[in-house]
Symmetry: none
Subunit: 217 residues, 4 copies
DNA sequence: AATGAATGAGATTTCATTCAT
DNA sequence: AATGAATGAAATCTCATTCAT
């Protein structure tokens, strides 16, 4: 009576991962039960364990694979770009595009880190740090060359990533805006946001802000 | 952090709310058990029900109260400011300050909406919409007056809020930067980010971006 | 609707322990399910956890309490007996009596040690060692005084305890023999078994046995 | 102890039986999973069923084969011995030797009877009864001839077997004592234990023990 | 207002077993 | 004879919630 219902063979793991991403995105890791997951895949709950070792491991695999992909594809997107302005524009375009096409994975990788156990958490945070470092380096280079101005590299790095990542909380395919319009909107905000203030008509003179960019944590 | 065991009277609810905020922040709503919560407060799980009606209601109360506070205090911060630039600067300063002082409540109100049941979710999202609307209006006004330039009001609104809210994922009191430095760093990014590009040395000319700001969802 | 069925209040733990002893005796620790145990007590499986912390802890408590009782009562039974022969007779009578009245606890404490986790196992084995040591000391004293003769103290200790403990695999109340007859049968075997061979008509001359008693492990 | 992975052919069953004995000895039948067993053998769990029919049958086979061996070899050991004293000495030597060389099988056959289902249990208990009967007959003969004295044949039979069998709970090859010393120690206890008290200096006169040996259950 | 004990549902995980390949 | 994937039942344990005291 085995294998007469539901998903079969080597495709089952892929089905589990796909359904897992969707359910974790919709309900959260803690709120997703393996019974639900199995039902989505069309197998019994216990059968999941022919393909995953634990629920925690499934989460870790999904998150880790996503961050690896993100890093790899970012490096492709930045390849051959030397100018910090071009690099930043490419970064924004890549990040926005990636987040539009894989917003569920992105969301999970940002919001479910808390559910990773200590060891897995450390691995993923290290990978995420590498991603952030790409942006921090672009900003550092641009500041050195005088084409960017930021109050603090670290804060700017986190803020820009948060700004771009926010996309995946509201984006839905087929919405009001085209892909290009969304990219353009973010490009304007980011590139303008790090532009040297000297070039602007005294916009930001309210508080006694430090004017020099400082790096480091 | 131990408290009077068997906490009595009108303070118990406050202890529950405080411990609830911390536990939900640290573990998430689904992952926090009422037994843990009760243990933190120093009472038995069953005794919680003398003060709250359900776990869901506790979450709703915490989130709703937070967003109400946020809105009320924002309006105080904006009071008397008519110039969009001044308003935006005040918005940023307020938002950053508030997020530094109440980062756990902020985090919960952003990340645990998913755990609200349908009715509660609608209430909270409406309140959040009101908050976003304050910023959208500032941007609209600034664009009208020609002191701001954004590709899309809606996108800019979400992006700026995401940028500012990102703070509460990394901020820790006693860190490297002063409160003023953190505010200044965000002010620069936001105000510069919405500055008219005409004022800039052709920074953002990469894609054929639409130049007109459009409102609506 | 709480507490309308099954066992109540402070007596529940006692009911759990009693039913636990019976079920573990009949089926073994691994084979006893907490569902069965709960059913015997008349509560739901989850309700067990208001009284025990884990299944393992229940076993440990039962075994440990039993061995503590055993030791305490043995010391009472030996009190005031100085002569090794009298002591050994008292030991046998006590052990047999105890095993007849609490044969299930005895059986569990002997056969389910394997199911204790490492830490609990060590505790129990230490207690059991103390019990064995009482007998080993009696034998050592008797050998010194020349009233006992054994080939090896250690082997004799284990063998006598095994001999006596075997009782609980076949004893049933109301059987063919009276309590006194059973005690007498074991007394004869044990006391005779350690009697000096010189007193016997060359019974045990088959193998080239060492004649001296050696202690130690 | 690793074996050729994917063990083939007629040796696989033997590997299963050997690993089964070890695992059941170490963890108990209930606690041994067929997955563990298969892993030890180097095959998948499902492949076990090419060699055994059920887990229960594996246990039954192991126990039954052991008891058959025991009986067969006992009869060889007793062959040609007519004198009850010689027979008892041979019984002890055989039993002890056998238990030292096959202590795991012995242990299983004693402690896992409980896990046999009703039909299998009856078969095994009948075989065990035959073994016990050999000893009971020796004792009966010895008592008739006046060379043994026991209070009760049945009790003595069980007690002697328990005494001897206890060996397999502490024996480890390479321990402090030689094989001969261990045999001698047990011989002394048993033969002395059933020696007529008349031959002893009034050792066992404590309780008003019946002096006549009675048979029957 | 707090407790302690109960419920019933449901969580993750393991199990013996089956069977097409 | 072995595999890999499936089943369905059952395991221990946790959970939010209730309520008599």
């Amino acid at each position: 009576m085995a294998r007469t219902i539901g998903s079969h063979g080597p495709t089952t793991l892929e089905a589990i991962r796909k359904a897992g991403v969707r359910l974790i995105f919709e309900r959260g890791y803690e709120a997703m039960s393996l019974r639900q997951l199995a039902a989505e895949v069309g197998i019994q709950a216990g059968s999941l364990y022919n393909h995953i070792s634990t629920k925690q491991d499934l989460l870790f695999d999904l998150v880790q694979e996503h961050i690896n992909d993100l890093l790899r594809e970012l490096d492709l997107a930045l390849e051959g770009k030397a100018d910090p302005v071009e690099q930043l524009r490419a970064f924004v375009a890549f990040h926005v595009t990636y987040h539009m096409t894989r917003k569920r994975e992105v969301f999970i990788a940002n919001s479910e880190l808390r559910s990773l156990d200590a060891k897995n958490y450390d691995v993923v945070v290290a990978l995420r740090g590498a991603y952030e470092q790409r942006l921090a380096q672009i900003l550092t280079d641009g500041v050195s060359e005088g084409v960017f101005e930021v109050v603090d590299i670290q804060v700017a790095t986190f803020a820009i990533i948060a700004l771009l990542t926010g996309l995946c909380t509201w984006y839905r395919p087929g919405g009001r805006l085209t892909r290009d319009a969304i990219i353009a909107a973010h490009e304007k905000l980011v590139l303008s946001g790090v532009a040297p203030q000297a070039a602007l008509g005294r916009v930001g003179s309210g508080s006694k802000s430090p004017r020099t960019a400082v790096a480091g944590s």
